[in-house]
Symmetry: C2
Subunit: 333 residues, 2 copies
């Protein structure tokens, strides 16, 4: 668990997009985002108070989160200076960069001397069990996609927000580094050793209140040959009661796989549900989340109406419309 609240480190981000981790925290966990730390030349702005380390510490910040991706994932000397100072000021550090904080000898030494934690969220920090398939109490929902990167994390976070607003019991369960940094906890599933993948998801979504929903962040796609094994572990380790189908309708081929076309929503529904019923015979597909960012408003509305009629399920773009109808679908289960 990463201690909150955070000071968001934007470094020398070349543009707003480079700071998408910080943006995610600001959007989904604003209560964690006390302020931002920007270096000279930083082109990103989260519209948060600019704070130096001392001011953030006094305001109660516990962890400096690297909210920016840089070319090659390298930790530059200019960054390093700030990170060392942050440890000395009493901050923990959290990062999803490819290059690990712990592999930087100076950071590791200073963290040890100061008694601070280095959280490299790409690397599992837990010895996960092998999945035992035992039925757990509480309810679970998993977002599955026709492809990778179609909006599964966004969908789960939007549903979580809507459900909390409605007074439902809900927890977003992160399975990737951005989600882990946003919420401060989770499983970096793509870095887990094969035998323990499903077990790590059982660990992440334990017994809970009968009316509590875990909203499990999806990864990959059952139809994406590079990552389908990871998705399968979510379907069986998560033993979901409900599936949300996620889709991006303008994509011409599977991400990174020219020559592989996307499956239909019907094919995704049938395959995902067949597999999910192995772990939970009562599982149902309850809604569809469509990423319409590359469509006009009119096109998007028309497309969503068509999908809703064809599939007989609520179909929404949670970015345009919010996720209330998907949350309602869970409430009705």
């Amino acid at each position: 668990m990463i201690e909150t609240p955070y000071l968001l480190f934007l470094g020398d981000a070349p543009d707003q997009l480079a700071a998408k981790v910080a943006q995610g925290i600001k959007d989904w966990r604003p209560e964690y985002a006390l302020g931002q730390y920007r270096m000279e030349g930083c082109k990103a702005d989260m519209k948060l108070p600019d704070m130096d380390l001392k001011a953030a510490k006094e305001a109660g910040a516990k962890t400096l989160v690297i909210g920016v991706a840089n070319r090659g994932g390298i930790i530059s000397p200019a960054w390093k200076k700030v990170l060392v100072e942050a440890l000395e000021e009493g901050f923990d550090l959290a990062s999803g960069l490819h290059n690990l904080l712990r592999d930087e000898e100076d950071l590791a030494a200073v963290a040890k001397a100061c008694g601070r934690q280095l959280h490299d969220v790409r690397v599992p920090s837990v010895k996960y069990p092998i999945a035992n398939g035992v039925k757990r109490t509480g309810k679970r929902c998993l977002a599955v996609g026709t492809d990778c990167s179609v909006g599964k994390m966004y969908t789960a976070l939007a549903m979580d927000k809507s459900m909390r607003a409605k007074g439902m019991k809900s927890t977003f369960r992160a399975t990737g580094q951005t989600g882990i940094l946003i919420t401060g906890d989770g499983v970096p599933l793509d870095a887990v050793v094969a035998d323990f993948m499903a077990g790590s998801i059982e660990y992440l979504t334990p017994d809970n209140d009968p009316d509590h929903w875990d909203l499990i962040e999806g990864q990959g796609s059952l139809f994406h040959v590079s990552y389908s094994g990871v998705t399968m572990a979510l379907v069986h380790g998560g033993q979901p009661d409900a599936l949300i189908l996620c889709h991006e309708p303008t994509r011409e081929h599977m991400r990174g796989l020219p020559g592989y076309s996307l499956p239909s929503l019907e094919a995704l529904r049938d395959t995902a549900l067949t597999l999910a019923k192995v772990a939970n015979p009562d599982c149902q597909v309850v809604g569809i989340s469509v990423n319409t960012q590359h469509m006009s408003e009119d096109e998007a509305i028309a497309y969503l109406g068509k999908v809703e009629a064809e599939m007989g399920l609520p179909a929404v773009d949670p970015f345009r419309q919010g996720a209330d109808r998907l949350a309602d679908a869970l409430a009705e289960l």
Copy 2:
């Protein structure tokens, strides 16, 4: 790659079953099994020449393979003495034990001093790529099971043997530690990091002659919730042209999962084929391998006949009957 031929280390095996790795090498790669090394109290016998280290070295053995499993996977002091001497005599060591050779400080030091290799086949030794899904030349066959441990490795090895006898081009591709020790090469798939599972199988089964068959050792089951993600990576990374369905008809529930019943062969066929066609639209299910060890000869023959009629595919027990009919099914594709 582990250098062959081998001297098989049986240690102080309490019974024949404890030496099943050695038995596998003797059965499937007799040309690798120059001799056996037995310690006082050893109750296993491969009916190979008993050799000390010097004699085996003179006979040309290159690697001492630990062909025995012991309680807890521990390397005892009595074993250690032999292993150190083997390194000093110029042998490499190979092991599938949980406790790694490389983690034993004395073995690591002697191996380094003598310039010898320690092969811990449970641990990946290659930095595998992420799968790219590009179609490869040559043909591939994958054994998929209704459950774990139903005879997938045995089936692939028996088919390989039959195909070689018929003059077909065939390579058994190991994906688990026993298979790797038998053949000297392979991918320890259950120990590979999630993101690289499918890529490791692409790496294991590269472009080949158009009439060459890779016989890929299966792992887990699409219907076993603990390991299904591993199986999925085989289905998509292997891009098989042919599937063999493997089954053990007397099992009352999925291995290690009370309350989970086995799928029917029809369900396995439909699910595995649907998923396999994502990576290879021409994939076909060509035969059925049944492990009838818990049935009488009459029961087994009756059961195989019934399955063959119901499924419209050749159904054999390769242990009782050999795998010629499965090899023929590949030849006809």
